[in-house]
Symmetry: C2
Subunit: 428 residues, 2 copies
């Protein structure tokens, strides 16, 4: 078939009726599928059932620093859990603060603290400034944007390239504007594009000159070990680039086990320079908490040992996820390839496929899919303020549904993408 753009009006009208018929057929089936969020599937959660019973009473008496993990204390976590994250990210244990079940909470709390207390001695709390701005690569993670919105932080969208966010533009902006205090980054298998920042982008982010002395990279390393191929992307260790430089305190890394074990019951980490960790413990964490759940930390450490290490566990996740991502690509290719109405990513890791439809059609596609029983991520959610200026990006989250549900959902999505495109072309 030619691209839809070369069809004449009659051809488009006939095509519209054919698609509308398919669409109505789906609508009549009372389908209800939710693909809005990047949630692991029950089959993935089943991989971690040994978490429930992996700890023996004896384990509780054998924590490295002699602390009783059941009791109060141990503000920054048990040594074993700090070591787990340190090893995963190539940092020292002294750079790790282990948090509760949510790295989102650590991110939110970091911004909240910056608002009320600032991030560095001698710098004002951000709430005392007339304006605070964050750079936001787009498309990206809606919950980052919601944190900024809550605290009134202005978001500046930065276009993504295949190498990561447009580093030339970033360097220029941060050099000139001291209101720019932060930047959200999902540096590996980015949400939703799947892009991993190149070595050069990482290096330049680490070394660039910023007018604001208290500029921070919010480095959300959510998908560090979440590969979908046997040739995983490698993300440059940004801590090696800032170490020993005047930017040593620039990086706030966040991570969690949410998509390794149980998303609702994992452990998280805040990773930064030793100076930042020491200051945060002294000035903030010690007032907010007596320490996160150390039993759950120990539970995770022992569980990862039991399954032969995190990479072994993540391979099992990948085995479940690969066919799903393959199905997304297969369905899009079968239905949409060559029609000039959509492009999509083929990620090597992470939880999403980023779909771009014709300009002005994303909201319509999501609305149509909803009507046919498939809930997608809200159109625009991947942009600051929920506004996609071209109204074209849709985040596809194929992990949660079963294969048969996904196949059905993809059929529906493909019809909706094409239907919205034809509607647009007919309206011109």
């Amino acid at each position: 078939m030619d691209t839809l753009h070369t069809m004449n009006k009659t051809g488009l009208q006939e095509h519209y009726h054919m698609l509308k018929g398919q669409f109505d057929h789906f609508c009549a089936q009372n389908i209800s599928l939710n693909m809005a969020r990047g949630k692991p599937s029950p089959a993935q959660l089943d991989l971690s059932m040994d978490l429930l019973n992996v700890l023996t009473p004896k384990d509780c008496l054998q924590v490295e620093n002699g602390i009783d993990p059941r009791n109060y204390g141990g503000l920054d976590g048990i040594p074993e859990a700090k070591g787990l994250f340190a090893k995963m990210f190539g940092v020292r244990s002294s750079q790790v603060f282990v948090g509760g079940n949510s790295s989102l909470t650590l991110m939110h709390d970091r911004v909240a603290r910056a608002m009320t207390h600032g991030v560095e001695d001698g710098c004002l709390p951000w709430s005392k400034l007339p304006k605070v701005k964050f750079l936001c690569p787009v498309p990206s993670y809606d919950r980052h944007f919601e944190i900024c919105a809550l605290f009134g932080i202005e978001m500046i969208p930065i276009a993504m390239t295949e190498e990561g966010p447009d580093i030339d533009e970033i360097e220029q902006l941060v050099r000139e504007d001291d209101a720019i205090k932060g930047m959200w980054c999902v540096p590996k298998y980015s949400n939703p594009t799947g892009i991993t920042y190149s070595d050069e982008v990482v290096r330049r982010l680490a070394r660039m000159q910023t007018k604001a002395r208290d500029f921070r990279l919010f480095w959300d390393n959510a998908y560090a070990v979440h590969h979908l191929t046997n040739t995983p992307d490698e993300l440059r260790n940004i801590f090696e680039d800032v170490a020993g430089t005047e930017n040593e305190n620039r990086v706030y890394m966040f991570a969690s086990t949410s998509k390794m074990t149980f998303p609702g019951a994992g452990i998280s980490a805040f990773i930064s320079s030793e100076a930042n960790i020491t200051a945060a413990k002294k000035r903030f964490f010690s007032v907010q908490t007596i320490g996160a759940d150390k039993i759950n930390q120990l539970r995770h450490v022992r569980f990862f040992e039991k399954v032969g290490g995190i990479p072994a566990l993540m391979k099992k996740h990948a085995e479940i996820l690969k066919p799903k991502f393959a199905e997304v690509d297969r369905a899009f290719t079968a239905s949409l390839a060559g029609k000039g109405i959509a492009t999509w990513t083929k990620p090597k890791g992470g939880y999403f496929v980023s779909l771009n439809v014709l300009d002005g059609c994303a909201k319509r596609v999501v609305a149509l899919a909803k009507q046919a029983g498939v809930t997608l991520t809200t159109a625009g959610a991947t942009f600051p303020y929920g506004v996609d200026p071209r109204d074209r990006n849709i985040r596809i989250a194929p992990t949660y549904p079963s294969m048969s549900e996904l196949e059905q959902a993809m059929k529906i999505i493909c019809v909706c993408v094409e239907l919205a495109a034809v509607e647009k072309l007919l309206a011109v």
Copy 2:
């Protein structure tokens, strides 16, 4: 023996040398005991070892609302956990938000939010006000004071009576000063006095007129079920007093299982009016978290069922704790009664004995005890800014040490109390 106050100088000097001999003897023994914090003892923690393995894989599939507790979602907690707290405090489940392992975090976060966003529509964020003040009954819990200090909230000490904080003074202050936005309360078995607020005090706190429309009671119900006798205190349910009044949103209650199961690995709750909970979920919690650890919530629910309910478990705690509190009273009575140099509380619940020594002697007693190997809570910690104006209050935390350690520690403390008193009397 007469009170020390009636001894002549020679007698006091002789007494001093006798006490100093005992003190030096302790110092020579290289004792190291920590009684600084209200921590459960290992024997108490052992009561909850079934927590580790109480959950079966099947349990994870049987949550009341059909949610998978392993996965994301369920912002305010699983129904079973909300019901647990609702039953404990005589409120509706819709008034409960279940948090992570620390009620301190919920308290801190509530104050932090009030600073950045305020607590009620139409009221300014507290950080935009020239001054924010909190009423602080004294002596009380140092971590409450640290939260105020962190956010620059001025603390106004309020004297405690046998009925709770001086309600006449409170009513007058809040009626006249709209900078008073909050009050810290440990309404049952207060930290450290053990006092439970009387019905009248609770009712008047609920109903008093406050100049600030956004005044809040921070109701830290930490020791609700932590009885030490068979005739427990009963705390009036303050939610019944505010229900249906214009003060319906006044109460922020906080609670946790920290001193029921594992202090480091429990679950917590924020309990308030339905309107407050709904607003907090929508405006704040949903940006900060996807929900606390639901597996740990389910674990606690099942564990409490297994041990026959919370009261049954708390009775076992009381059996361990009663002899320790009895020992504190026995030792003080044996060594200090009738000497006119100390008074102490005999709490019916909670975790502390409040000791008042001669004015100006608390710091000295704590320093002497430290020298002899017993770490006590810092003198002054029970007051705002760490300053006890009479320098007389010491918080005794007898729960953690073993009985033999406690006996030894009490001998040392008693000698230090008397030694400091004699030093003072000799110096006059």
